[in-house]
Symmetry: C2
Subunit: 581 residues, 2 copies
Amino acid sequence: MDYRPRPEDVRFLLNVVLDAPARLRALAPFAEVDEALQSQVLEEAARFVGEVVAPVNREGDEVGCRFDKGEVISPPGFRAAYQAFVDGGWPALSAATEDGGQGLPSVLEAVLYEWLSAANHGLTMAPGLLHGAYACLKHHGSDELKRRYLQKIATGEWLATMCLTEAHAGSDLGQVRTRAMPQADGSLRVSGSKIFISGGEHDLTPNIVHLVLCRLPDASAGPKGLSLVLVPKLLPDGTRNAVHCERIEEKMGLHGSPTCSMRFDDATGWLVGEAGRGLAAMFVMMNSARLHVALQGIGLLDAAWQKADAYAAERRQMRAPGAVPASRGTEAADLIAEHPAIRRILDTQRAWIDGARTLAYRSALMLDVAAHDADPKARERALRWCSLVTPVLKAACTHQAFHGASECLQVFGGHGYVREWGIEQVVRDARVTMIYEGTNEIQAIDLLVRKVLPDGGAAMSAVLLELRDTLDASRDADADVQRRLAQLRYLGTTIAMSAHANPVLPYEVADDYLRVVMLTMMAWAWARIEATGGTDDAGRTRAAAAFRRWVLPEFEMRLGIVKRACESLALSHAAAEGVAR
Amino acid sequence: MDYRPRPEDVRFLLNVVLDAPARLRALAPFAEVDEALQSQVLEEAARFVGEVVAPVNREGDEVGCRFDKGEVISPPGFRAAYQAFVDGGWPALSAATEDGGQGLPSVLEAVLYEWLSAANHGLTMAPGLLHGAYACLKHHGSDELKRRYLQKIATGEWLATMCLTEAHAGSDLGQVRTRAMPQADGSLRVSGSKIFISGGEHDLTPNIVHLVLCRLPDASAGPKGLSLVLVPKLLPDGTRNAVHCERIEEKMGLHGSPTCSMRFDDATGWLVGEAGRGLAAMFVMMNSARLHVALQGIGLLDAAWQKADAYAAERRQMRAPGAVPASRGTEAADLIAEHPAIRRILDTQRAWIDGARTLAYRSALMLDVAAHDADPKARERALRWCSLVTPVLKAACTHQAFHGASECLQVFGGHGYVREWGIEQVVRDARVTMIYEGTNEIQAIDLLVRKVLPDGGAAMSAVLLELRDTLDASRDADADVQRRLAQLRYLGTTIAMSAHANPVLPYEVADDYLRVVMLTMMAWAWARIEATGGTDDAGRTRAAAAFRRWVLPEFEMRLGIVKRACESLALSHAAAEGVAR
């Protein structure tokens, strides 16, 4: 069964829960982007994804990419599907019109990429990297580089890569050793080896534009000595540049996307942005890239859920307990969807999908607000949301993609473990999202250590208070969320105080803190869904109940873990003082 | 890195924590099996597993089994390794001496299989099925069948299968349709199709003995109409029987074990046990088979942990927070083992491994007691333990194998997702253990609905009281465990009462109940480890702390989920009564 996007689910969350059409129309560039146009774009995206992208997913996994003497051959159907993607103008959906784009809101691009990832994670990796390269070049590229590359990248005519990782430099980019030597003509000669480069070589586009993190001569050690250099596969005169793919990795999944080891042998390139400011140039796109990974997670979870939901609605095994279900008819066995253990799995994943979607789409809206609102205060608030919420969504949505897809696999019993139904591919594909674009452990440290604690929790408190103000305390569900928001604010203060006594503590509880934030925000999302009539739908009503029964109890558990860590520190501190006295 | 068994870890748990040597010597058949002999067996098993079985694991995954015109070709090295296994007498370690076995305790076989699974899950599937077939035939086979097959199976000269599942009959064996027609000579002709048959065809042994669940003519519908029939690949006269492998499955993992679709075309067979008592004949080996799957889970988790622990002790990335670790030396970056997020993963998995081992080895000891104790009361107590604890271990250990191995994969960052380090194979291989031998959801229902509730929780209470009596309430850790044991007993009563009002409720909370039982028993295990000096070892001290900080808090969460389900039922019941009044 191929993935089928369901625009009606998304429309409810965007239009009813998040009031996206009104929010977008308030932004100058989107004054004409009304609800009808948005719906039309989503309908067409759904059709394209379902009819063109989803059908080639299976061969992407089974045949995979092949490496042959430096060339990479895409799986069957990938070239045609990618060409149709370019011809349809989909890569440039949210790119500026002056760059050949359609100038539509980020939030529509977010939905598009969620669906693309659900339908075909491997193929989606290729254009997924365009957007970061486009933003990076648009903000930091010289006019000459922009003239040569910006439109080609925006439209997907040429694909792009991010060449960061080296064998000894993964999470720790400060250890990057690739060198760039300045030449008399202003160009650079780049030498070194990079690994784990998604789409480093392929046959989807004639040219490939690499953005390479490297060191100029005399650069300082560590991350501050890094520069970003654009190295094209084909030079402007059409000749082949000295950048080559040496091999592609054998991976657990994601076989449709080539993960390349690249060698740069005095390859010609040009500086992007300032020397020594390579990481800063890349960080321009950090929030949007991480949000896209969160959306991959949501998409993959939805793909797994769709498969499991369909299987549970036709597979019969044993009698379900309790009252005779209407679906029994004259059958000796009941649909497994009627069995409580299966129902719980399906409803719980549904709770994650719609809760996480609400938060992810809100974040995409905030990217639009941050870019286009006339009011600088509104832009600042939007950026604050993105900065704090993006690592939470990246970690939590990808965690759930893998674990929830595994739950969905369980619905199939033994049939889930074999290739036939495609569910095990989702589990394998999803696993990588917990690692790339910053491991989930690094997201948690980014959130707590780099973003929450430095201002004593002030920015996070401001975000939580904003959420509180959307709630109506006369509703029980809303009052419950308000209580959790208050607990979370207090937790930030507690950790900040404990961190003075033990600077290691925040690193120990970072994962738990991130989970508490996610669960609080999911509770907010579900309270909004319920308040806006979301539970008129039977599936959403079950999901809302599943969220409260089976997802939300982790809030108290994680809160307790963090609190006890802070308390035991305070106790040992007091004991030490007692001894000293 | 190949898996290396560490007998010293196991010896501590067996000899010091569980007092196994004294317990075993008290059983007549093991009067001579002293600690020195046990140690010698374990040392030799460790050497064999490390030197012969582990090295061929990688090719088992990468090359896998091949299917060619009805034949299955084993991965390179598998035939030689299996032959060495037979030649060493390992299959018959705990089989009776009169059947060509060594008559050693089950608990030693349990350790052997944990290590075998850790080293090479695929290869271990082959002999893993012998033991069930051996027990089944020994208890239920006719003298003639025993004479022909028992010793061949006990020694591993011929391998065996369990042919249960059909396309429409997975968890629901009552739907099995394979037919057996009686013949004038007392034999049966078996016709039908079976799927998911591990080792249904292979080149490891000349003959393969299938135990096939099927229906005799006029058998009643449902599970009570099932009979068990022995169908050999080669008939006693050496001719080929009409049982054939039609294909092998493409799976997520476990590529070293062929998962076969089998066709029986009027194949000749003989009844095992009574007609219509097929399930009963199989259930003889249920506790031991499920315990072996739990041990697979523990082994796979230990394999993942070993890889991650070794990697974390040599990979350097970034500075660790806090005091300068001694391992830094002059390096710019610290070992990732010094980073709190990585430390937490490693210590948490260690806590699961040693806690679960303690419980699994205790269960294996109880299998020995149940089989050999002179005191019928002691045998009954041992059987009670096995009946109640086995489903808990099967579900919890396999759950942790997959999820913990995935955590260990995370330690490798991007390197974990590629084949090179072998960690992703462990994750893929481990996934199936949550499904086969009864899905984990079925284990939870077996525990709560079929075993705990029918006697109102009496048997489970008795097991918990036995554990309580091993504790010393003057120790804080022991008192904490006693409190949890009491909470768990009370929980059983609460569910039993609620089940009267809503018979579906136990099915809804079965998973949570099973987790509460496992966490309580793990708390008991760790209290025993600590009380017997287990924390003289630095790794175990960290694991004990990790257990309390990060594993045990799930106890309160799960307890709360079950209690709230019971309370909300009581409330709605009271409300309904209010309306009625």
